[in-house]
Subunit: 243 residues, 2 copies
């Protein structure tokens, strides 16, 4: 085993640097191929899936902890983050999935292992540019990959509830310019922006009223035309006006 992989082993983590009982979970949204996607971890050799998460250092703010987790899984800084809910049901006290994970990762562990306590989860959703992200698995996981929101597997504990509430909040904030600004590339066509909105809302939108509403919002600027190579009028390219 290489030094680098050794460094990644969970048994080398100093759990004492973190606040006990509180975790952070992140629903990281990306948009690609006309589909809304979420980053999901698969734990090693267990077939268990989970949202990316982490813990809060004793001298770190909640938001900084979330930024650190996001940076670790995506490689990105300056991510759009929104703290939307804190989960504290007793469902979260079921330690069987984490025991399964530890059995497949640690030489030995006991009931007092840091990961086997009850955690209250402060949850954030993030909006990222799919093309800029290099998903990185954490020390307990094989993979960190984009999953289409319509093909999400069953996740551990209450992570499906967390995803659902994140998606509900994203729907409510659909009219914030943050949605298009952070999920699309710098320039895009009106059809691409409409496709994004349709993926988030899960329903089709009227083309002309969407166009008018977006343009009247005043956040967009036309910056030229895009040759599509297709046999029809070429669409304008737009970008968000940064104030």
């Amino acid at each position: 085993m290489s030094l680098k992989k050794e460094h990644l082993k969970s048994s080398n983590i100093d759990w004492n640097q973190f606040m006990p009982g509180i975790s952070i979970d992140c629903v990281i949204f990306g948009y690609h191929d006309k589909e809304l996607k979420v980053l999901v971890l698969e734990y090693k050799k267990t077939g268990l899936f989970a949202l990316p998460g982490g813990f809060i250092k004793k001298d770190e703010t909640l938001d900084d902890a979330a930024k650190r987790v996001l940076k670790e899984r995506t490689g990105l800084s300056n991510i759009y983050l929104n703290q939307f809910h804190t989960f504290g049901s007793l469902k979260r006290s079921d330690h069987t999935p984490m025991k399964t994970v530890l059995e497949n990762n640690e030489a030995s562990f006991d009931e007092t292992h840091f990961l086997l306590q009850r955690f209250i989860s402060v949850s954030y959703f993030a909006l990222v540019d799919f093309k800029k992200v290099e998903p990185v698995a954490d020390s307990l996981s094989d993979t960190c990959q984009w999953i289409d929101i319509n093909e999400l597997p069953s996740l551990i504990l209450d992570h499906n509830d967390i995803y659902q509430k994140a998606h509900d909040h994203l729907k409510k904030s659909i009219n914030s310019e943050a949605v298009g600004l952070n999920l699309l590339s710098k320039t895009f066509t009106m059809a691409e922006l409409q496709g994004l909105h349709e993926s988030i809302l899960g329903k089709e939108l009227n083309r002309t009223s969407f166009h008018r509403k977006i343009m009247l919002s005043g956040h967009l600027k036309r910056i030229g035309k895009k040759k599509t190579g297709k046999a029809h009028r070429s669409p304008y390219l737009y970008k968000f006006i940064q104030q």
Copy 2:
């Protein structure tokens, strides 16, 4: 000191029953005399003010902990509660106010006292019927009283930020029937409902468009007239339709 008061002493609390590092704070809104008010605690002999709060038992959900805190301070069950944000800035690690409080309450204490750790605060706002509430101080406080939102004193730690964010959320949810249903009595006039909305939004509203909008929402039912004793047409009384 009576047995009853002895029971209320903070030194008799078994702090070990609670999760460490996590607290609950509540912004409890009431409406009276055409003014929006919030319940505020004053710590004994210190001149320090704070929002009502509490901690989470190790086998209790977050929402149940919030309900318990609300019940303790207001005597009410079945309160409208909304978890709106979790606060985790480093501002919360300043232990000077709590030390001042303990110096005036405990015979002795040391740096490891449960109340002298960093707490992440899961915050709720509550809407209650002013007339049904009997405010009760907690073991560290002299008083728990209604303060007009325009006369709020400086509160400890980040409690003013917590109040502000609660108020922002309340403004956003102004069109939810929960606002009138929980802050007013069972029956009320249109002018009373409009006064409540104006207090929450901090601005005057147009009378006729407000009237029309509320009636078109379909949540209200007329149930008779109210004699005001004043020299003008008497207003209808309304109540919310419970589905």
